[in-house]
Amino acid sequence: MTAEPRPGIELVPPRRLLVAPVDVFFDLHPGDRALVADGDTIPVETPLADRLRDPRTAVVAGTARGDDAGEPGDRWSPAPGRRGQEREGERPGELLFRSGGRWRIGTGDHAEPLLAPFGGTVHEVRPGIGLRLRSGGRALVGVETLAGPTSGRLSIVTGPDGEVRAPQVDVSAAGAILVAGARIDAEALTRARAVGVRGVVVAGLGVKERRDFLASERRGRAAVHGLPPFAILVLDGAAGRPIASPVMDILRALEGRTVAIVVEPPCLVVDDPTVDLPRPPADLVWVRSGPLVGAEGRWAGLAGPRRFPGGVVLEAGFVRFGDRPPVAVPLGDLERFV
């Protein structure tokens, strides 16, 4: 049985570990084609939409349906007889707007499927904007997802404070989502992509690694064959810090299972409701910033306003790290898990 924590812990910023149900937004852009409709219940890996890899604008004379004026957002397909005259509009596309009696459409030569990373019910399908997929599962919340969505088998390759480098990533990790500890460098990300890793979960991703990865993504998307699904879920932020133990405990409980990384909200989706996910003690607090970053301890009560380095006076709380006497830490530097 867990004892009630000392008073004052309610002033420590709460961090929500898990959300349920999961309602995920997948963005679509003009020219993309939704393949599902409101209310559809779909299994994992169902194609949700065709996304254009090389979107562009084309000008066409009118809709292919004779007298129908057309509505913005409708699909446009060339009438068979028009081939040859409407060279720009040979590919199907999406009606954008009409000006000077001619329609502008969003179209492209190559599309790639957007696969559902988990099963659920589709709602709010809006052409050119996005669609939502709701699942009864749970999700571990992060702060940002780059690329994605994706799904794969969860594999832990280092400890919570570890850092993954390129030599540690090999082909045996193909198809997996790797838990990469505190940091991962850009070279390791590139190698992970190359050997078929489906995703990475990491505590911190610096702006340099972020920039390099996004540039690599852009190049890959522009290439002829495109890229397989891949995503990076950032759990905490840009600076390197260990993964907090309550988060790591959940990841360990999920190791070997299929999970998904999605973009909005940025989270790791667990579609299996039968998995027992551990919850931390109510008085556990984690230091997310400051000189004691990464340390975990037990809440020992409010310390009141204290003067900290820089001459700054901040509200603080006492935290007991191990068997040592309590230490005053600014409340803003702490997190508790709910």
Partner: protein
């Protein structure tokens, strides 16, 4: 008949931190009993409960007198202001010039501006931008008649926006200029014209070189859900404060999602007190996606050895958890980011910069919470480069927003009159002089400053450091001690003429004491920092070491 409450709970719920304050009615007037600031995710009622418990522990008699009970927080009458989450405005026009004019106006509002024109985006990309769910409204404009640069694409823009209006029934559009008269506009809206009409607001057209500033800003601000927004309500309190104190007051507020710069003046003759201000999303402490330019802006104000990437990391973390890492180097980073934000705010408010120095400069916002007083005055002096003398104070309990939620101006004025002394935490006085001959740069005895008693007699009356005389050198930042609450007269005499509001050799200005004393700033106006990073850091460090505690350098 409604009984007058004995205590009020004031809540300023920001995006980074939440401040709660208890106002108690004692001896027939309202006083600030206490305040507490906590991280934004914390429930304000939990903060209030802790504050009330502290008041009760410190003075049970006082707590009983005003009826404070930690278990009955929900029974307290409340004045609650909050920071509205930022919303984005898509700005579309037929040419880069037209978009620039519209953007120039929109950046002087609380909207986050996302511009696009056919010269920067193709039609599909512009449609994509307008369809994004995070875009809450569109601003589309053209000159009357359309300029040569607009004629080629104005029909496309009109058709594009009309089509987006049909696809997004929740979207509102502000139309500035002859867009609605284009045929593609009517064709685009089609049969939905009547339904869309209520979502379309008309604004004056663009000029050749300027946008319709005041009228367009009013329309754009009116689209925001801002009734209890801190930056709206703070303006109302500022007007009451200027009236009560009979002083011209400038308010500079730097918040997490935007900034506010406003100037209020007391009433004259039959005219009541007035205020003019600009709220700008560009004045946010950290932009939502801090890029390399943002990192450079902050690096320009730092003395540490962070490179651009590490600074980018720090800014992203500050954006994601703005209540964290507020001590040590984190405190310095905040003040550097606050300077960068103030610079952006000052850049979009040249009309306010052109005014004479106010009697009182009031600094507000979570960016300054907890920082040493001298560092706040120095941050203001670094960025708001206007010659003159002004007292600097801090809204330490963050009452400006909550008090502004009182709708009745008379009731608000009465409450502000009661708590004005408690609301303002005096940081000191700032005197900025300029116009000294460059040949005197760095030499001692360019001039002198003498602090005398406020009534004009020399001597040590009034406490603090009155009677102090100090030599001044061009380019110097001098700080003289003057205790909080002390009034004095500063006599500045220069060998050659200088400018402190006006040009002369001898000046006599009233100054007030504070945590930072009297800061006399003889640096360049505008401030010119060395181009080389090491020299710039050395200059900033030299000035900074006077205001930051020595043990933390």
């Amino acid at each position: 008949m409604t009984a007058i409450p004995r205590a009020i709970l004031a809540i300023d719920a920001g995006a980074a931190t939440t401040a709660v304050a208890i106002l108690g009615r004692l001896g027939g007037r309202w006083r600030l009993v206490g305040s507490l600031v906590g991280p934004a995710p914390v429930d304000p009622d939990d903060l209030a409960s802790t504050l009330v418990a502290r008041v009760r522990a410190a003075d049970p008699g006082l707590a009983d007198a005003i009826g404070l009970d930690p278990a009955a927080i929900e029974d307290l009458p409340r004045l609650e202001a909050h920071s509205s989450p930022p919303v984005s405005l898509g700005v579309l026009a037929a040419s880069r010039r037209a978009v620039g004019l519209l953007t120039g106006v929109a950046e002087r509002t609380s909207w986050r501006v996302v511009p696009a024109s056919p010269e920067s985006h193709d039609p599909r990309e512009m449609t994509d931008l307008a369809l994004r769910p995070e875009i809450s409204a569109l601003l589309v404009g053209a000159s009357e008649p359309p300029g040569p640069d607009e004629r080629a694409a104005i029909d496309d823009i009109a058709g594009l926006v009309a089509a987006v209006l049909r696809r997004r029934p929740e979207l509102r559009v502000v139309v500035a200029g002859p867009i609605a008269s284009r045929r593609s506009w009517a064709d685009g809206l089609g049969e939905g014209f009547a339904q869309a009409a209520e979502r379309i607001l008309e604004a004056p057209p663009l000029g050749a070189r300027s946008g319709p500033d005041e009228a367009l800003r009013e329309i754009l601000e009116g689209l925001l859900p801002g009734a209890a927004d801190t930056r709206h309500t703070a303006m109302r309190t500022l007007v009451s404060l200027a009236d009560v104190l009979d002083r011209r007051i400038e308010l500079i507020e730097i918040g997490f999602d935007g900034g506010l710069r406003a100037v209020a003046a007391p009433g004259v003759a039959d005219d009541g007190p007035s205020a003019e201000g600009v709220r700008s999303a560009g004045g946010a402490l950290v932009q939502p996606e801090p890029d390399e330019a943002a990192a450079e802006e902050v690096l320009a104000w730092t003395t540490g050895s962070l490179d651009r990437h590490r600074m980018g990391d720090r800014l992203r973390d500050l954006r994601s958890r703005p209540w964290a890492d507020a001590s040590g180097e984190g405190a310095r980073l905040r003040l550097a980011a606050a300077r960068a934000a103030m610079t952006r705010l000052v850049d979009v408010t040249p009309d306010l910069s052109a005014r004479p120095a106010p009697d009182l400069t009031l600094v507000a916002g979570g960016a300054f919470a907890g920082a040493p007083g001298g560092s706040i005055v120095l941050a203001v002096a670094d960025v708001v480069r206007r010659t003159g003398a002004t007292q600097v104070a801090l809204d330490h309990a963050r009452l400006l927003g909550p008090l502004g939620t009182i709708d009745d101006p008379d009731d608000r004025r009465d409450l502000v009159a009661d708590v004005a002394d408690d609301l303002l935490s005096p940081l000191g006085s700032l005197v900025i002089a300029a116009g000294m001959p460059p040949r005197l740069r760095g030499r001692a005895a360019t001039g002198t400053i003498t602090l005398g008693a406020a009534d004009g007699r020399d001597g040590n009356g009034g406490g603090g450091a009155t009677g102090t005389k100090r030599e001044l050198a061009t380019g110097e930042l001098a700080i003289l001690d003057l205790a909080p609450g002390t009034q004095a007269e500063a006599i500045l005499e220069f060998r050659d003429s200088a400018r402190i509001g006006r040009r002369a050799r001898r000046f006599s200005v009233p100054v007030s004491g504070g945590i930072a004393g009297v800061m006399v700033d003889l640096r360049d106006v505008p401030l010119r920092l060395p181009e080389r990073r090491d020299r710039r850091r050395a200059a900033l460090a030299t000035w900074g070491e006077q205001v930051w505690p020595g043990d933390d350098r």
